[in-house]
Amino acid sequence: MKKETMSEQELIKGCISNHPDSQEALFKLFSGRMLAVCLRYVSNRAEAEDILQDGFIKVFGKIGSFKNEGSLEGWIKRIMVNTALDQLRRNKKLLISELDENWEAADHRKASDSLDAKDLMKLVQSLPNGFRTVFNLYAIEGYSHKEIGELLGINESTSKSQYSRARSHLMKMLIRVEQSEF
């Protein structure tokens, strides 16, 4: 554990001095998890890779300002999430309030019987953007509704209602998947 922390410190140092090997090592260490984060915000893989790329360029540019207050992974993840939100905003996909009214949960009867991360990813990705963003931020990233409201420029109550709708849709889908198992 201690050793790991040390090497992470070394990595950070290396990245601050723009050492290519350190940068690559840092990328290798976190890119898989960070791509998974990006893929929860945009379901299109190419777009997610764009975000990953932009995000890591930001990470390397700003790593000097990383203070060892939280985990490095958490810090990188925040940058990824913010980059993803920027991207959604830029593409005007972050229209939270009135959107998605007529949305119907996709049929997920074909999901495998044991729901693993992959299946859950698919469920999350099948949510419309507005729901999905709030659900990701709240349930998976662990932001509060207040923070989400500030982040997305919506009311706290909107965040709550979006979340509960996302949740009920996911629940329906999970139940459907469950039923299809019998």
Binding site: R33, A36, R40, Q53, A117, A139, I140
Partner: protein, 305 residues
């Protein structure tokens, strides 16, 4: 799978399973990052060889596809709607028959005087293919142009795998029939015709024409309009006696800005004087000596602040 009806359990389930989830990453992403970092730290952008965001761009051209490319195409068609002259040569490109004139005639007018939908289509396809090619090589240069003749000369060259990929994704049947990469053909035809910076030869980004006639170096693919005095403008490195007219489009094909040789470069502000957001934009540049020689350059420019 029981008790999923409890509120917290949904969040817990997804949090537990997904917060540490990993996906396998396309190696092209790392290459793109390296390029971006090199371009930033070098301070000089002309040396940056790889267009940023290759992977995503290619795929968004292919997959999201017509939103991007189609948007660009649409823009061109819109430009052309003002013209009443009929098409003159179906095989020529925009740039060739439309030299810039002294004084009043701007390039955009020149464009609108040349309504050649067929060639535009080809241009778009070439553009898309350039991107595909770039992806497969991971060392693209987008300033390659489509010159008259190069399209016709293409017949023999191949672009493994990529045209196949284009067809279903782009849902544009003509793509499959068009001859493959201009760049490839040009590269093969004129390997020694290279006078641009050393990087460029690696990039396969050249055509039959000597670029040094028009440009002193490769058009940059990234700039950082953050006021730090470094690379704050997107500039076209014109050779002496040349002029240019450049349009910047966003990914949806909307015109973001246009500028010419009378100003130093694009400062990253959009039409309403609002800062354009970070990301990748397309540029189309007409470089001309004001008489009969002109050339079109296209590519992507990444805006970072």
């Amino acid at each position: 799978m029981k008790n999923v009806t409890e509120k917290d359990e949904i969040a817990e389930l997804f949090h537990e399973k997904l917060s540490g989830h990993q996906e396998s990453v396309n190696p092209a992403v790392w290459k793109g990052i390296q390029t971006g970092l090199q371009a930033q730290s070098a301070g000089t952008l002309s040396g940056a060889s790889t267009a940023l965001k290759t992977s995503g761009l290619v795929k968004s051209v292919l997959i999201g596809g017509l939103v991007v490319g189609g948007g660009l195409l649409t823009t061109w068609i819109v430009i052309n709607e003002g013209a009443d002259r009929p098409a003159m040569q179906s095989e020529s490109t925009i740039s060739t028959p439309t030299p810039l004139h002294e004084g009043s005639t701007t390039v955009s007018e020149a464009v609108s005087n040349t309504p050649l939908p067929t060639s535009e289509k080809i241009e778009y396809q070439n553009f898309a293919r350039e991107q595909s090619f770039a992806k497969s090589e991971a060392a693209p240069a987008f300033e390659a142009t489509t010159e008259t003749g190069s399209i016709a000369n293409n017949e023999g060259s191949t672009l493994p795998g990529e045209s196949k990929q284009l067809t279903p994704e782009a849902a544009r049947p003509a793509v499959a029939n068009t001859p493959p990469s201009t760049i490839n053909a040009a590269e093969k035809a004129n390997p020694a015709d290279e006078k641009a910076p050393a990087q460029a030869s690696k990039d396969k980004g050249k055509t039959q024409d000597t670029d040094s006639q028009f440009l002193t170096k490769t058009i940059p693919n990234i700039f950082t309009p953050n006021g730090d005095g470094l690379n704050d403008l997107f500039t076209i490195p014109l050779a002496s006696g040349m002029r240019h007219q450049t349009k910047i489009f966003d990914k949806s094909g909307a015109l973001v800005a246009e500028f010419d040789h009378q100003i130093e470069g694009w400062n990253g502000l959009g039409q309403a004087g609002i800062e354009a957001s970070e990301g990748t934009y397309f540029y189309v540049t007409f470089v001309s000596d004001g008489a009969k020689t002109s050339k079109q350059y296209k590519g992507t420019i990444s805006l970072k602040r």
